[in-house]
């Protein structure tokens, strides 16, 4: 994501003052539109309960206070029966295990698709491509019963397996594409040297596939961490709610929490993601751009 050097093709854009002004106005407008809702929620969350309905220029609180954050933690623990740390733990367990499971299985399966022969290969692959376009809700009702029959509804495994089934095609698609881009001479040289297929995968392909695996990790992390409907329906026990499910309960509950607590709860879910994004933003943007090209 390097800043492109403006070559001579940019000359007529550079010369035109109208273009210069329009771009500044439009881009500034969009930046304000993007930032304002987040800043506003942040602002609500750090106002003292007495001044929560008023602020200078809608954003700057008259009185700063972190009381709302304490209230948010207490409110979650008392009304929801699941604390924020527990929600984050639940999300972390579900996300890390699903991502690990999906990537491990995809590393091997994608190798079979790219370097080995088996019957019905392309038809199976086409089914996988088609399934990527299917909305998760189509599987909701039968999955619910399959998980009941397996006796794992309301456990982490329920959601992890549902995510695995739903997201494995993405892992396989990306890794297969990547394996096939690796020059054939490399694997051929390995075979001549007497390496087994397993050694080829582990020693030749995997070290080269690190960027593709990073892309998968990012895409799968976002898909599982932010996922809502499976987590809500397959893990209805309050103690194993993930972050989005717990937050949705706080935000849409009939027993309205006050606006400060509400905003602090939302910010508690946003701030960690913001920090992770600030550190890894290049990888996030590159990963999601690469992931889009799989379609």
């Amino acid at each position: 994501m390097e800043q492109p050097k403006l070559n001579n093709y940019g000359a007529s854009f550079k010369r035109s003052p109208i273009f210069y002004i329009i771009t500044r106005i439009v881009v500034l407008f969009f930046i304000i539109i993007i930032i304002f809702p987040l800043l506003y929620t942040l602002s609500l969350s750090v106002r003292s309960p007495e001044t929560v309905y008023s602020a200078r220029y809608f954003l700057i609180p008259y009185e700063f206070s972190f009381e709302n954050y304490i209230d948010a933690f207490v409110n979650a623990e008392q009304k929801l029966k699941v604390s924020f740390p527990r929600m984050f733990l639940n999300s972390a367990v579900v996300t890390s295990l699903s991502v690990t499971l999906i990537i491990t299985m995809s590393i091997f399966a994608a190798f079979a698709f790219s370097h080995l022969r088996f019957p019905m290969k392309e038809s199976l692959y086409n089914v996988m491509i088609a399934s990527v376009a299917m909305p998760a809700q189509v599987l909701l009702i039968p999955l619910f019963y399959i998980l009941i029959y397996l006796g794992i509804i309301n456990t982490y495994q329920a959601v992890i397996l549902a995510y695995a089934g739903f997201l494995i095609p993405i892992g396989i698609l990306i890794l297969r594409m990547f394996y096939e881009q690796i020059p054939y001479e490399l694997t051929e040289a390995g075979t001549v040297d007497g390496a087994s297929d397993f050694q080829l995968l582990i020693k030749v392909l995997l070290p080269l596939a690190k960027p593709a695996i990073a892309t998968c990790v990012i895409l799968l992390f976002l898909d599982t961490w932010n996922e809502f409907i499976y987590a809500m329906i397959f893990m209805q026990d309050a103690t194993i709610h993930t972050v989005p499910v717990g937050l949705a309960k706080i935000g849409t509950s009939r027993y309205q929490v006050n606006i400060g607590t509400y905003s602090a709860s939302v910010m508690i879910t946003i701030i960690p993601v913001m920090v992770i994004f600030a550190v890894f933003q290049r990888w996030f943007i590159a990963g999601m751009t690469m992931g889009a090209l799989k379609h």
Partner: protein, 291 residues
């Protein structure tokens, strides 16, 4: 290919992934289609007891809220495919050619909402759009935005666009960075101005990227559930229901009808929509390849 023929050990690489994929994706998908011909609730153990033929489909056919949900889904998809892609196209061209000093930062800011949970995004906007929310304070109005039957879908589309525009933006940006610049240089010599360049060179050159963005938004549009759920729960009075939330309402919602067979028939409709689009896409791309 390492081996000339099929080897038994290939299955060891393949089976874990294929087993999970079949058990938790393909089989539920097909079961869903079959279940749409049965009547059952969330409390039954034998789902295939009561075969009702097309009753579930007749039920949704006669339900006016199904048609509202269908219309809303298409409206939502329309917004994602045309409005969101269109804005992202303009914005990416402006940022790319605008010679911004902080272009990376600008893109990061606009991209940031994409990494947030749709639930968090929905809740952020919910408070802004409420009657005592900040939007009314800024505009000096006293309007209940999310209770407006005519506006509510457009607001949901707007919030969704707010979240995902950065995704289309960075994809366009990648397209712009790999664009063939010779045509632009040639047009400089011919004395084309900036608007001519954008409309007759840049936008046509970006056409493949536009198609990609439209497909991504189309698929994403049919998935929409979280934002609707937290913003309106399909309200007011089911007027902002989309197919996915309608399915949820019929099968799982507390206080809903708890008719899972009907939910399965809604899933059938979603399945059919996606399948039609996928087949159309394959036919179109084959046609394009031939030409």
């Amino acid at each position: 290919m390492i081996y000339k023929t099929f080897q038994f050990k290939t299955l060891l690489y393949l089976l874990p992934a294929v087993f999970i994929f079949l058990t938790f994706n393909v089989i539920p998908g097909l079961t869903s289609l079959i279940l749409s011909f049965f009547d059952f609730t969330g409390f039954e153990t034998n789902l295939f007891k009561k075969f009702v033929g097309f009753d579930n489909f007749i039920k949704i056919y006669e339900d006016k809220y199904f048609w509202i949900a269908l219309k809303n889904t298409f409206l939502f998809v329309f917004g994602a495919v045309f409005i969101q892609t269109g804005i992202a196209l303009i914005l990416s061209i402006f940022i790319f050619f605008g010679n911004f000093k902080f272009s990376v930062l600008v893109r990061s800011i606009i991209f940031f909402p994409c990494v947030l949970a749709p639930v968090s995004v929905g809740l952020v906007w919910k408070k802004i759009l409420e009657q005592d929310g900040v939007l009314n304070s800024i505009l000096g109005l006293d309007y209940s935005w999310l209770s407006s039957i005519s506006l509510v879908m457009w607001l949901i589309i707007m919030v969704n666009t707010w979240q995902w525009i950065g995704y289309n933006l960075v994809i366009y940006y990648a397209g712009l960075q790999s664009m063939n610049i010779e045509l632009l240089e040639a047009s400089d010599i011919d004395g084309a101005n900036w608007s001519q360049k954008i409309f007759s060179i840049v936008i046509p050159l970006l056409w493949p990227t536009t198609i990609l963005n439209m497909i991504l938004n189309l698929i994403g549009g049919f998935r929409a559930f979280d934002i609707v759920y937290v913003l309106t729960r399909g309200g007011p009075a089911h007027y902002s229901e989309v197919l996915a939330s309608y399915l949820y309402y019929y099968s799982f919602a507390a206080g809903g009808p708890n008719k899972m067979g009907v939910g399965a028939s809604v899933a059938f409709v979603i399945f059919a929509c996606i399948l039609t689009i996928a087949v159309a896409r394959i036919i179109i791309s084959k046609r394009l390849e031939q030409n």
